[in-house]
């Protein structure tokens, strides 16, 4: 059981990763953590009572390159319940790379097979700092260029590290 600590400008979020049920997804995520990818990224997409998504953009809304993708492991029995961590992706089921989201509601429709036959792979859950997640869930959002649902005041992940 790997644990990751995210230090944000709203507080700390401690996440327990499920290596057993989502080995590839956890390995991929931990790799990005260890490379320092998540430092100085933001939660750039927050939809109230749906999910908060981050790990892809800097506070200036420039996208951080994330070359390595991971196979879709959504069929692992884990559910997109409130406070679980899952990988974001495009329509391509295996396109997940670094961007992740934390569910802020039980989002059953994201579970395998989901709306597209694949669903979204859950690979961890927030064990400390659920109140911080709640705070982020409630931030005011607006448009930024072609992005909508962007927090008006940046929610910054200062760093992410494996703790044990």
């Amino acid at each position: 059981m790997t644990t990751v600590l995210m230090t944000t400008n709203k507080g700390n979020i401690k996440i327990e990763l499920d290596d057993a049920k989502a080995p590839k997804t956890v390995a991929n995520f931990v790799d990005y953590v260890n490379k320092g990818h998540f430092s100085n990224t933001i939660f750039h997409r927050v939809i109230k009572d749906f999910m908060i998504q981050g790990g892809g953009f800097t506070p200036e809304m420039s996208q951080k390159p994330a070359g390595t993708t991971v196979e879709n492991e959504a069929k692992n029995g884990l559910k997109n319940d409130k406070y679980t961590l899952a990988m974001a992706r495009t329509m391509d089921p295996h396109s997940a790379s670094a961007q992740f989201f934390i569910n802020t509601k039980n989002n059953d429709f994201l579970n395998y097979p989901g709306q597209d036959g694949w669903g979204y792979a859950v690979f961890g859950k927030v064990v400390e700092g659920q109140d911080v997640v709640d705070q982020i869930n409630n931030v005011k959002t607006s448009r930024s260029g072609m992005h909508s649902d962007v927090p008006a005041d940046a929610v910054i992940i200062e760093k992410a590290e494996v703790v044990q």
């Binding site: 999910m51 329509m91 429709f109 036959g117």
Partner: protein, 254 residues
């Protein structure tokens, strides 16, 4: 990447719900709970009921189950829209109020995910079926409907039962061709609505028809039938990016 996102809109039609087909009804309720509740909008494009004698028939237990299920969807924050089919065109405002949905005219043009989409049930585009077109012209007249609805409910149900039997017999005699939409009617619909995309049901011939020259697309919904083998059903979805996809009863993309 903007996934995950709530589906923008879901489309179904031709469920032909009736008490004698419990598996189909169960599949409908499952679809509403598992899929429709998570979309931003649900469009019901006609013949959801096998027949509808009038809104004074709202109170039957079966109809109440359907109304309750639809109201749960709209209570979840989904915009629910209802278009008349050739079987259930007498559904009125009382039903709409009870179920928490909005009635749409046929055709209806919607802008969904930056796509302009023309929505029709599909029966008005089967212009080669002259008998049906004449029947439709008559029964869609407000005056005819007022007169019909003034009859006692039991009498209306008797007439409808007769009509359904007549339709069953006539189906056996009609050619496959006249029971489909005609190219002229489809072209006219594209022209009248200015929409390059049409979504309809009625013909029970699920497909995507794409014109290679104009790029125009016509999506046809399946009917639902789970009380016989092989089962039939499915839906159409428009996602947050404006992609239009067709799905089988399990949600698998076709």
């Amino acid at each position: 990447m903007t996934s995950p996102a709530r589906t923008l809109a879901l489309f179904i039609s031709d469920l032909h719900l009736q008490e004698s087909h419990p598996r189909t009804a169960e599949a409908f309720f499952r679809f509403l709970a598992e899929h429709a509740s998570h979309a931003r909008a649900l469009y019901l494009l006609g013949d959801i009921f096998e027949y509808w004698a009038g809104d004074d028939d709202l109170a039957t237990p079966f109809h109440q189950r359907v109304i309750d299920a639809l109201r749960d969807v709209s209570a979840a924050g989904v915009s629910v829209y209802w278009m008349a089919g050739n079987r259930d065109f007498l559904v009125g405002q009382d039903f709409a109020d009870a179920a928490g949905l909005t009635l749409l005219a046929d055709p209806h043009v919607a802008t969904i995910g930056k796509q302009t989409v023309a929505l029709v049930h599909g029966d008005a585009q089967c212009t080669d079926d002259l008998n049906y077109m004449a029947f439709r012209a008559q029964v869609r007249e407000p005056a005819w409907q007022q007169q019909f609805l003034a009859m006692p409910l039991a009498q209306r149900k008797g007439i409808i039962a007769g009509l359904r039997e007549g339709s069953r017999q006539a189906h056996g005699e009609k050619s496959y061709e006249i029971m489909d939409v005609t190219p002229d009617a489809i072209a006219a619909l594209h022209a009248a609505t200015g929409a390059d995309v049409i979504i309809h049901g009625h013909t029970h011939r699920p497909a995507l028809h794409q014109d290679p020259d104009s790029g125009r697309r016509r999506y046809v919904l399946p009917d639902w039938e789970l009380d016989t083998e092989p089962v039939r059903g499915g839906w159409i979805a428009i996602d947050a990016q404006g992609n239009i996809t067709r799905h089988d009863l399990h949600g698998q993309p076709l």
